[in-house]
């Protein structure tokens, strides 16, 4: 069986090389810059993010310090560049974790059905009834501020959106002819779901993951802003929170990390919009 046949009829027609609309290209370009900044942070900065220089405390942007210096004279650009690492790493970790859990539970609910479906969807409903950011704040608050706890706090709520989405997709696909045919030739449930159903159900998951990453970056920065993020690595939210105390004398400390958060979220929204248009024929 060829790869296309294994994925079913829809996949081959969906993946076409298309020219992206200009907003999506701008979004992709911003994202590429952010990823490059995160990867190359030690190479593009002249100092480490924690290197202090008290003589230059609270100084605005100048040669050698394009984004200025913070209250201890640390280079804001170095902190923003290293903050990109933390923010993107957390976003990738949370999106991967939540998508995996969500896809697995959604596929189980949709394919197995019956009591499994009822139990999973009841849990999903309860989680959906809870304001996500609030639970994340409370969890990060009681678990303690570090990187792993932050990822847990953000991931606990995130999976439900994927679960609901994938369940709906699986319900629509499980009685399709090619799935029935696979079942007839003796394929087991695991093989049917993983080889025949999920590849066709993943387009909306990719779109959701893109918007989800934007949400995670805002949520992570919010938690770091509130002092509930990791204390030992620079984060955009943490830097912004620190800068909020010096708005009158050194507004640059809060301005630049906020700008980078906004640009990244904007870029993800632009790319997400374009992906939705390309991958979901109904929105064309």
């Amino acid at each position: 069986m060829t790869a296309t046949a294994a994925r079913g009829p829809a996949a081959a027609s969906r993946i076409k090389l298309q020219v992206l609309p200009i907003p999506a290209l701008i979004g992709a370009l911003i994202l590429a810059v952010m990823i490059a900044l995160a990867l190359l942070a030690p190479l593009v900065t002249t100092t480490t993010p924690l290197q202090t220089d008290l003589a230059g405390a609270l100084r605005g942007p100048a040669a050698g310090h394009p984004f200025g210096q913070d209250r201890l004279g640390r280079d804001v650009f170095a902190q923003v560049a290293h903050g990109a690492r933390a923010s993107l790493l957390i976003a990738i970790a949370v999106v991967t974790l939540t998508a995996l859990v969500g896809v697995a539970t959604g596929a189980a609910a949709g394919y197995v059905g019956g009591a499994v479906d009822v139990v999973i969807m009841r849990i999903v409903d309860i989680f959906l009834a809870f304001p996500g950011i609030l639970l994340a704040i409370a969890l990060a608050g009681v678990l303690g501020p570090n990187l792993v706890n932050l990822v847990i706090a953000l991931a606990v709520m995130g999976w439900v959106g994927y679960a609901r989405l994938v369940r709906a997709q699986v319900l629509g696909l499980r009685e399709r002819e090619y799935v029935v045919a696979a079942r007839a030739v003796g394929a087991g449930p695991w093989r049917i779901v993983s080889r025949h159903i999920l590849p066709n159900a993943l387009s909306p998951v990719i779109v959701q993951a893109t918007f989800g990453a934007a949400g995670v970056i805002i949520a992570e920065s919010s938690l770091s802003f509130l002092g509930l993020g990791p204390q030992d690595v620079p984060t955009w939210g943490g830097l912004l929170s620190q800068g909020a105390a010096y708005l009158l004398y050194a507004p640059h400390i809060a301005f630049f990390p906020g700008l980078f958060i906004m640009l990244t979220v904007l870029a993800l929204n632009l790319v997400g919009d374009a992906l939705r248009d390309i991958l979901d024929p109904r929105t064309r």
Binding site: A129, I133, L134, I137, V142, N269
Partner: protein
């Protein structure tokens, strides 16, 4: 009404689920919460006294039953930091949060409705594109950044508005604008999409053919039907505003439940953390429920 009864019934497991999640929050704390609250220097007697006060020395099932029983009597425990019942502490802060959320909603509607309507009427023009780019920026802008930017401009540079706190109506403007901006962006897109759907309908063509003026067509005929989906989003987002207020309140030192929650987390006042989360979450659940019911009352097609 049958559908309302069914929604009310569905509310029971949801509320129970929310209560259970909140109950287990304190049990997720790594280590001994009592030791964390009192610090390393606390005596054994103090530790066991607080453990008994909080009921943490009982079996888990009994603690859960006592938690639910207490709630039924409006008893959320005692704030360790304020030395007052949690219910009273939160009761003092809740009106400020409700005021902020309501003001943010008003700001959002005042911005979103005109922009959404104009963008739809002038579809595919420069005005439309600028409105949509603006709304995308609004959605992408974190409120803990917008808040400080507004403070720099309106408090420090222009000196028009107070930086923080809650003193008079002027102090409400910046927090409400900060909290309402993202919602305004969502509602503007929603209003535009909804208006575009309605503007293509036959009955509007008929109205125009009968000589009804363009403004009347939009305001009297189109808007009335276009607003239905917007009303739902407004309701659902009001609940989200309550939880979003946690961050905005902290930016502006607004004395609401959000500021209280972060203070409680910092002070490791776990009963108060539990109470704040519970109150905001339950408000969110009930506002969403009311929206659902209202929607069913407004739109007969939903009454199934």
């Amino acid at each position: 009404m049958n559908s309302i009864g069914r929604r009310l019934l569905l509310l029971v497991p949801t509320v129970l689920g929310v209560l259970t999640l909140v109950f287990f929050l304190v049990h997720l704390i790594p280590g001994d919460p009592v030791e964390l609250m009192l610090g390393e220097t606390a005596s054994r007697a103090d530790l066991s006294q607080l453990r008994a006060d909080l009921g943490l020395d009982r079996p888990l099932g009994e603690q859960y039953a006592r938690f639910l029983g207490g709630l039924a009597h409006g008893d959320l425990g005692r704030s360790f930091f304020y030395r007052k019942p949690v219910f009273a502490v939160i009761g003092g802060a809740l009106p400020a949060t409700a005021l902020l959320a309501a003001a943010a909603m008003a700001v959002a509607l005042l911005i979103a409705l005109p922009i959404g309507i104009i963008a739809a009427v002038r579809r595919d023009t420069l005005t439309d594109r600028m409105a949509m780019v603006g709304s995308l920026l609004g959605v992408s802008m974190p409120n803990f950044w917008l808040g400080p930017l507004l403070i720099i401009l309106f408090s420090f540079r222009l000196g028009w508005l107070p930086v923080s706190g809650k003193e008079g109506a002027a102090s409400l403007i910046l927090p409400a604008s900060t909290l309402g901006t993202a919602l305004a962006a969502i509602l503007a897109r929603m209003t535009r999409a909804s208006m575009l759907d309605v503007l293509g309908e036959d009955y509007l063509r008929t109205a125009r053919a009968k000589g009804v003026g363009p403004v009347t067509v939009v305001v009297r005929h189109a808007l009335r039907n276009a607003l239905l989906p917007v009303v739902t989003i407004v309701g659902l987002q009001f609940g989200a505003l309550l939880s979003g207020a946690v961050i905005t309140e902290n930016v502006f030192a607004w004395p609401g439940v959000g500021t209280l929650l972060i203070q409680a987390i910092t002070a490791r006042d776990y009963p108060l953390v539990q109470g704040c989360v519970l109150v905001i979450a339950l408000c969110y659940v009930f506002v969403n429920f009311l929206t659902d019911v209202l929607y069913a009352l407004i739109d007969p097609r939903v009454r199934t």
